[in-house]
Symmetry: C2
Subunit: 255 residues, 2 copies
DNA sequence: GTGATGCAAAAGTCTGACTTTTTGAGTACG
DNA sequence: CGTACTCAAAAAGTCAGACTTTTGCATCAC
């Protein structure tokens, strides 16, 4: 009956939430089976049976059915009578589902996945920045400038974690300010990519000063409403990200 | 069968599959409740109760629970004990889920939705075309040329339906040939947009000859491996699509 | 070989009982 | 007067079992 009145007011981090054991049986099974499928542990064409899965995970059939339904809605599997639950080919998966993205980024082909997403980014963000220059509110311009300044301030002295926070915030604001909901919803993906770069792909050195400058100039361009310049500058940032990726993990040999 | 095999023997599209009536109780309820939510019939913050829904739709609680689980995985609702199933704010929806896209396109704010998606297209497709110029196989080049020729052949004489088929196929091939799975998966979205233009937004006249020519030239550029030209030409096509949209449904007044 | 027939496997559905979490009202205590 | 504690009810969550429906496959008749 103790009260945890010390150290009690910490805000639970994302990892805490996702790692928590308390999310219900259904979510736990999903988080076990989902990654297994996306990792190719059950290759496309594999057939699973609901009852068998229920036994394996030691849950009732109702729970397992709900899990299968969700996997089905992600197009990871297809359920057919008398056949069972079939793993669908990769090309049919809902690769834009944030959950699927997370599972795949956590799995073995993380590099491939990271490349796909970075290319996607390089297509989206310049256009988003152009739109932001036209549509950003005063508050968004201010936020953008603040982020850029934060990046400058933390760009030296191995303060990578602090830098990351500002970097993520910057790109989120741009995507939001574009006024396009499809763009805005990619904020999480970008956050995931940037975090991955800092944490997994081992950034030994401080961030590229040229990149930092570019961010500052994008903020300027947006503030001034110069769409073309904002787009061009963001395109440069994207080019940089692609180049960086080529160095870390060269692309598959071109056909 | 007449004409090109690769057009006639195409795999059944998503829409085909999902329109079928025989999909089981669960899917039918989902297709009733999902659109209702995305249409704003239950505004964000509304609280539903599983049992009540089960009664309303005349299905068992198990079926309704599975429906709720799927809606939850789309981030349309959140389910909490003792409180019920809450409709989440629009900004949190998984707007890239093909099912959600279809529901929203079928609903009231179709124009808004169509604009978001067209802007997305205008960002993606030029980049995809550039990549396609680098990566397309001989078969894909051939398919692309065939599509372009088909577009030319059906561009006059009010053969809009036939034209649409070739147009959709063209863009699908480009997205596929880009070699990026994130791009490839947008084929359905593009198909939806193009079909919408032909069917809903009333194309009175034959397609713009300039657009047709641009498609032919994109096919050329890809075949010749000229990435920059393929990208620039596709950007022109996208510009055209955006302009067309501005005429049909002017954008909200810029702030 | 071809087509009809029937069996069985697996998903789909329904029902009722039970558990767990959470909220909000009531209550005691300072 | 307000704070903190208790408690009961509400709703989702879980489980088990029985039944239905579809459908692949093997068998059999022609």
């Amino acid at each position: 009956m103790q009260k945890s009145d010390f150290l009690s007011t910490r805000v639970p981090s994302y990892a805490d939430v996702m790692t928590a054991q308390a999310r219900g049986l259904h979510a736990r099974v999903l988080d076990s089976l989902g990654p297994a499928i996306t990792a190719g542990e059950y290759p496309p064409g594999s057939v699973l049976r609901t009852d068998e899965l229920a036994q394996r995970f030691e849950v009732s059939r109702s729970v397992m059915r709900e899990v299968v339904r969700v996997l089905e809605s992600m197009h990871l599997v297809a359920s057919r009578r008398r056949v069972g639950v079939t793993v669908r080919p990769t090309e049919e998966w809902n690769v834009y589902d944030p959950q699927v993205i997370r599972w795949r980024l956590a799995g073995a082909d993380r590099p491939r996945q990271l490349r796909s997403l970075t290319v996607l980014r390089s297509a989206i963000e310049p256009v988003a920045a152009g739109l932001a220059a036209r549509n950003a509110t005063a508050e968004q311009c201010a936020a953008l400038t603040e982020c850029a300044l934060g990046m400058v301030a933390t760009s030296r002295g191995r303060r990578l974690e602090e830098y990351l926070v500002h970097d993520v915030a910057f790109h989120r604001v741009v995507l939001d300010a574009s006024g396009n909901e499809m763009f805005a919803r990619l904020g999480d993906v970008v956050a995931e990519i940037l975090a991955g770069r800092t944490h997994h792909d081992v950034m030994f050195e401080d961030p590229d000063p040229a990149a930092v400058t570019l961010h500052v100039r994008v903020a300027e361009a947006v503030r001034e409403g110069d769409a073309d310049r904002a787009e061009a500058l963001t395109r440069e940032i994207a080019e940089g990200a692609l180049k960086e990726l080529d160095i870390l993990a060269p692309p598959p040999a071109t056909r």
